[in-house]
Symmetry: C2
Subunit: 209 residues, 2 copies
């Protein structure tokens, strides 16, 4: 308690309540499908009347915005390089396959989060500037290892499309299995063969069809 003023303690308590509400909102959305929750349900879940939530969020869309921000922070956490940032090319290639697997796991482990973060499916909701900036940061961090390989522009578009496709098919057509997850390594190898410049390509292990 030393050095903690009264006002910061109050503010902290408030932040805790806000986090609790956001966590409950995630739960409800996961249970009912994205967007299908009511303020009443949410209030019940956190032990309040629905109306009291308006002390913390101005509107339902502001809750979506907090979820959007929260989900992107989780993505940053997941995609953040954990160990050395590897300046030798060989390690970077396995690092990319690992990154693909981590991203796939992040997305398929929480389809509702994936839907909120990557698809535009809630009518009348647009992320605030602040949340959008977090999303931008998550995007940059996720693609950094690819950029370090010299990839850019439409090359990155092809890679993100393939990843989005594997994730989307997994979620839509085999939500309890791993049918498309099994294809990640093949897809990665295929993409690198197609896109990585010739003078780097030889460094890819097993790059011979």
């Amino acid at each position: 308690m030393s050095g903690t003023t009264n006002s910061t303690r109050i503010s902290l308590r408030r932040q805790e309540t806000i986090s609790e509400i956001v966590a409950a909102a995630w739960d409800l959305n996961r249970a009912n499908g994205l967007g299908n929750f009511s303020m009443r349900e949410l209030g019940t879940k956190v032990g309040m009347r629905a109306q009291s939530i308006y002390s913390y969020f101005r509107s339902k869309n502001e809750i979506f915005d907090a979820m959007f921000c929260d989900g992107n922070l989780a993505l940053i956490e997941t995609m953040q390089p954990s160990s050395g940032d590897g300046s030798d090319s060989e390690d970077q290639l396995e690092l990319i396959a690992a990154m693909m697997r981590r991203f796939f796991q992040f997305c398929t482990s929480d389809p509702v989060r994936y839907q909120l973060l990557f698809q535009r499916t809630i009518p009348d909701f647009t992320p605030s500037e602040e949340s959008f900036a977090v999303a931008q940061q998550a995007y940059d961090i996720s693609l950094a290892p690819l950029r370090r390989l010299g990839l850019e522009g439409s090359e990155l578009d092809l890679i993100t499309a393939v990843m989005a496709g594997l994730v989307g098919q997994q979620i839509s057509n085999d939500p309890h299995g791993n049918r498309w997850g099994l294809l990640i390594d093949q897809a990665t190898s295929m993409l690198l063969k197609e896109l990585v410049p010739d003078h780097i390509a030889p460094l890819i292990k097993g790059n011979s069809k």
Copy 2:
């Protein structure tokens, strides 16, 4: 009118009204986002009271089912081979690229239809057995040219994932442009290089990286 009994004419009139309602439902869903329409809006759109629609559909979900069936029939129409079914391999390869472009166009030209047909996003709606059979038929017809090349199992999964990815990224991130549409030919070539058996591969034009 010769040979048309009275009862069939009445039945035809009824079918016309049903089609009109389904068309209006598509319009509303395209305007409001998938699932966000009310029976009242729909009634107004077709010049009825909302309650009168229940003479044609038992419930709102039955309307979704009619839309699901309708959309899959449109997909069959689109993917149906138009000309000779080509038993020479060379033509089949360009036929596949053309098929990819047609599918992409079908999906991106109507994102709400894509959402209904290929993503599970409406809570409490499951296609009826009849509609599901139509969807199955559409799937088989769409993949037939790939099967004719000898592709199967996880190979088809990789191809459908790449296509779903291009479509999904286009819809979510560039709905008014063609950023991912430009990548279809490259993606197709990449996939065929990866998947088509060596004794057929030489027939692919420009198959030399």
